[in-house]
């Protein structure tokens, strides 16, 4: 699949990308260029195979494809998995930007640093059970999170430290 084909995956049946059953490829190219500019995707041209993109650029393309419709709810699972530093920073900024716009974001991750940096509220799950919800993740230490991840409920930890 080419970059432009991938970009329209969720709107290829909508006007102006498609009129009735016909796809307007000029409009598709215009839209793809728009995404490339807005999300700083490094591709030689829009007819470039997606499979040859680097992980960071691929993630940016997906991000652009999904966010361009201003969704109300975003579920981001390991959004920066395997990305380089610059791409990671970019993806995180975009997620915060969506939050500021008013979207509800559910971030699922195992990267503690990322969770602390991005979350407004943070719930830790161990063996399918929520160990507690932290209202101010920026004030909590990684040690506490580590204990919760290993199966200690939040209220027990507070008892010990108090």
């Amino acid at each position: 699949m080419m970059v432009d084909e991938n970009a329209i995956l969720k709107k290829y049946w909508k006007n102006p990308i498609a009129k009735r059953s016909l796809i307007n490829w000029r409009e598709v190219a215009r839209y793809a260029h728009h995404l490339i500019r807005k999300y700083y995707i490094a591709v030689p041209h829009v007819r470039y195979p997606v499979k040859n993109l680097s992980g960071g650029n691929l993630q940016k393309l997906m991000l652009g494809r999904e966010l361009s419709d201003s969704p109300q709810v975003i579920i981001a699972m390991h959004p920066t998995w395997g990305l380089d530093v610059a791409a990671t920073k970019f993806v995180r900024e975009q997620i915060l930007k969506e939050r500021d716009r008013g979207a509800s974001v559910l971030l699922i991750s195992e990267d503690i640093e990322e969770l602390i940096a991005l979350s407004d509220r943070l719930a830790v799950i161990c063996k399918g059970e929520i160990m507690g919800v932290i209202d101010k993740p920026q004030e909590v230490t990684p040690e506490v999170l580590g204990l919760m991840m290993a199966g200690t409920p939040l209220k027990n930890i507070q008892k010990v430290s108090a």
Binding site: E5, L9, Y12, A18, I23, P44, N52
Partner: protein, 357 residues
């Protein structure tokens, strides 16, 4: 000092390469074929010249090449459609037989003495029979995830023997002196032929379908959806494309086109259904589709070339007294080299001297 080589992925495909790659591949195949011919104690140059002259040397040769190309175009497009969606329809051969069977049934049981109406009835019969036959495999795939490569292949044998049952049994022409064939179709059930040649109007159907599917693949939502399904079924599902229903539909249309190829053969060319009226072009269609890189317009071109190879191959039998298998070997070599050449479209090989590492 030693020499290593390293295989790198190409980041961009060069225009020059994509134009010349097929030619280089065919050239290498012909060189490979000449070694094979030399083993048969035949002069390769003489053999190739004979093939070329038979296929292109006069109008008769060209017309015969077109005759061979017609069913190849239709079944090539049938296969192309399925392969685009990575549905491996290997059963064009069986669908062709079902189309031919249904055509014959239409002539026997629903005969109308009006060529226009009769041809439409035969067309519909052939399409529905071929399509239905393929849809069996499509449904099994969609419902229980049965591997369609195997089911379509197996359905071929059933179709061929089913056809033989009718040809040897109830539909056998009593005046055929025991030959396994049905009675000749009446004039109204024949696709017209061009004066003085065996080229029949199936050519128009073939060209029509080639252009139609080129347009569909390129400009329509439907073509886009097929491409998405083919390249990534998960993404298709994510985009809201109902994958399972699509498989059955794609199989049906693919089989229908193959069935119409079968109608063209019995109604346009042979004028009756006979034993083994076509065995191999359902499989040759797979070669055609790959060589054409799943582009319907290229399918026309490649069908013409393969048709020429077959007509030329007949001259090998007559002029050089070689068995028919020798033509098939040449075809196989071409496929092998062209598909092998595809590797170089995506990768480049760099040779590195040992001391440079």
């Amino acid at each position: 000092m030693s020499i290593y080589f390293r295989i790198n992925k190409r980041t961009s495909s060069s225009w020059l390469l994509s134009v010349f790659l097929p030619f280089i591949s065919v050239l290498l195949a012909l060189i490979g074929g000449s070694i094979f011919l030399a083993f048969l104690k035949v002069s390769p140059i003489q053999a190739y010249r004979g093939m070329f002259q038979t296929a292109f040397g006069d109008w008769y040769g060209i017309s015969e090449t077109i005759v061979k190309a017609i069913p190849l175009i239709l079944s090539g497009i049938a296969v192309t459609l399925a392969f685009k969606a990575t549905v491996w329809n290997i059963g064009a051969a069986g669908q062709i037989f079902l189309g031919a069977l249904a055509t014959t049934a239409a002539v026997r049981y629903f005969y109308v003495d009006n060529r226009g109406i009769m041809l439409v009835i035969m067309f519909l019969f052939a399409g529905i029979a071929g399509g239905g036959w393929a849809a069996i495999a499509g449904y099994l795939k969609a419902r229980w995830n049965v591997n369609e490569t195997i089911t379509t292949l197996m359905l071929n044998y059933i179709a061929i023997h089913l056809a033989d049952y009718f040809i040897y049994g109830p539909w056998k022409d009593p005046d055929s002196l025991g030959f396994p064939m049905t009675a000749p179709f009446p004039e109204a059930a024949r696709l017209p032929q061009f004066a003085g040649t065996r080229i029949h109007y199936g050519l128009f159907i073939a060209i029509f379908f080639a252009i139609l599917f080129w347009f569909i693949f390129r400009y329509t939502r439907w073509g886009y959806e097929i491409r998405v399904i083919g390249e990534n079924p998960k993404a298709a599902q994510y985009a809201g494309i109902y994958y399972l229903r699509y498989i059955v539909l794609i199989m049906f249309i693919s089989g229908a086109i193959a069935g119409i190829a079968g109608m063209g053969e019995v109604s346009g060319l042979q004028g009756r259904l006979q034993h083994g009226f076509t065995a191999e072009f359902g499989f040759t269609a797979i070669i055609v589709a790959w060589l054409a890189r799943l582009n319907p317009i290229s399918v026309m071109l490649v069908s013409f070339l393969i048709g020429a190879l077959q007509v030329g191959g007949e001259s090998l039998q007559i002029l050089m007294r070689l068995p028919i298998a020798s033509t098939l070997v040449l075809q196989g070599l071409i496929l092998f080299f062209v598909l092998g050449g595809e590797f170089f479209r995506n990768y480049r090989i760099r040779f590195i001297r040992g001391d440079e590492r």
